[in-house]
Amino acid sequence: MAETLPRAAAAPKAAAAREPASGVRIAGLTVELGGRVVLEDLSAEVARGEFVTVLGNSGCGKTTLLRYIAGFVPARQGEVWIGARNVTEVPPHQRNIGLLYQNYALFPHMTVFENVAFGLRARNAPSAEVRERVAAALKSVRMEGFDSYRPAQLSGGMQQRIALARALVIKPDILLLDEPVSALDANLRAAVRTEIKLLHEAMPELAVIYVTHDREDALMLSDRVMLLREGRIAQMGTPQELYDRPRDRFVATYLGLANFLSPDAVARTLPGIGLPPRGEAGAFCLRPESLRLDDGGPGRLVGEVLRCEWHGSAVLLAVRSAECAEPVMVETARRGRVPEPGERVVLSYVAEDCVFVRD
């Protein structure tokens, strides 16, 4: 949350013009679909202007959460607030949200202009204003001049931008994005990510909730990440918090490669480290880049190189060590000598990089 404050403060004028501030607050949400509990007692808050990524595997409830906020999924329990307004019982069309679908959902029977104008017409905007705002919206996504095209005549990336223009032209309080880049190929994906980031920066008071299963999206775009697991929040915080201070094994592995050392192994290899609270089952998490290929200590692991994986900018070593059941993964720069499989190596680490995670 702290990360969002400077940005909100940077735009005091806009904030004053749009009182009350509109973030989203969800309280005690439980959703049941077809007899299965999809979301359980979930509470969270997204501040005005904040970009929150909802991350999780398929079936974890992330899309359901998005659709609940939009008003398309009934809840067994819980409330949702947009700004100071309790919208729990408000039908979708009165919530003033922008929603972007994975497959864009552009109306196939309407032109680009009519698609973008749709939300304004629903709000009975006068036609001069409709023309003006649609033109501005198309310009903001660099699609001016495509007014009279049909969606089917446009490429996927173009349709994506039109869908974005359509969702933003109504000046929504919040923008909900459902896996907006997963249908695109790798290069286009990066471009659209950047585009979304820039658009958000141009609208500093807009709260954005971005649903994805891709940790790259989450790490690159968000102010905060909400990692969902089986309908519950596994951890919510800044990308750095989730990466550096994961609460449990699931969070640690979801955000990237992780080595897990048992408390005993750590006690043996790094004397003097504070051991975890008694009775808590778990392990110490060490990221591959926190291990060094030298004997500088203070923590030391001895092992044998099993294989080297070439990752372009870095080399990943799998090292078998007596202290760890799984091979220990070590990231090392490609410059300098890279040990060969079969070689014995000493790995060192520091206590600050060890994070205790629950099982």
């Binding site: 009934p74 019982e89 408000v90 039908p91």
Partner: protein, 284 residues
């Protein structure tokens, strides 16, 4: 009142209106009335009409005829339909899509017309017989099957084979070609692939088409009106003559009720089969 409960209320009111204005007058009231009439006798409600129907040798004969025609026609239509669908799908040629479209147009072709056109071709004065008599100098028409079991089955097969071809083609189209290629790469011969891979995957579609075909043939009326005879009376035909020739509405209603139960049973089986099919598809 909250918006959600208002929506639910409106939805409930609309649904009641649908049941009252559509289900009632078009389906439930007529068919319910049929059952009521079939059990209403002079001495009050009674199942006597049914007892009488099932103990009457004539009606047993009718049931027998109906079943014989249905089983024979549905079996032949299924075999011909599956064979044609497989050939059209795996050995396409120029014009084969045209042929499929031709079959689709059969939905706009009344069944009794098919039976009627057969008279021009295979009647004792029909083209085929005339041709054979002229060519082989015969004294009388060699083909005489039209106004009997064979003619009826022939007409039913012509009309209802497309109802098997369509779903079979759909099922074949839905089979992932990569699965077939995988089987081939594992060393399976075309015959083995057909038997162990394609057939099991297409079977739900084939079975569904075949059951629907069975139901429609059982319900068929027009073909029998044109080609049926006094000896070959099926249940729909018997209902028709009880109501319009004998003017015995009670007997007609009883038979109609029996027919209704039979048709709906097959329909339920069809729904079960197709539901199971879509469910397994969704899972896979």
């Amino acid at each position: 009142m909250s918006a959600t409960s208002r929506t639910l209320l409106a939805r409930g009111a609309n649904l009641s209106a649908v049941v009252l204005l559509v289900f009632g007058p078009f389906i439930l009231y007529p068919l319910g009335g049929l059952f009521l009439l079939s059990v209403r006798t002079k001495s009050g409600m009674s199942i006597d009409p049914y007892l009488r129907f099932f103990s009457d040798p004539t009606s047993l004969e009718v049931i027998h005829t109906t079943l014989a025609i249905v089983l024979a026609s549905a079996a032949v239509a299924t075999i011909v339909g599956v064979a044609l669908a497989a050939l059209l799908f795996y050995l396409p040629f120029r014009g084969s899509t045209m042929l499929v479209r031709l079959m689709e147009l059969f939905v706009a072709f009344p069944s009794f017309l098919v039976a009627f056109t057969l008279i021009f071709l295979y009647g004792t004065q029909g083209s085929v017989n005339v041709f054979l008599v002229h060519t082989f100098h015969l004294s009388h028409a060699p083909i005489d099957f039209l106004y009997g079991f064979g003619g009826i089955v022939f007409a039913e097969v012509i009309y209802y084979t497309p109802f098997v071809v369509r779903p079979t083609l759909t099922a074949l189209t839905l089979i992932d070609e990569r699965v077939v290629e995988a089987a081939r790469s594992l060393g399976a011969s075309p015959a083995l692939v057909a038997r162990r891979v394609i057939l099991p995957m297409a079977l739900p579609g084939i079975v569904a088409g075949s059951i629907l075909c069975f139901l429609f043939i059982m319900n068929e009326f027009g073909i029998l009106l044109v080609l049926g005879s006094a000896k070959l009376i099926t249940l729909p035909l018997s209902i028709y003559s009880a109501a319009t020739v004998d003017l015995d509405l009670q007997a007609a209603a009883t038979q109609a009720a029996v027919m209704l139960v039979a048709s709906l049973s097959v329909f339920v089986v069809y729904r079960r089969v197709t539901r199971a099919g879509t469910r397994s598809h969704a899972r896979g």
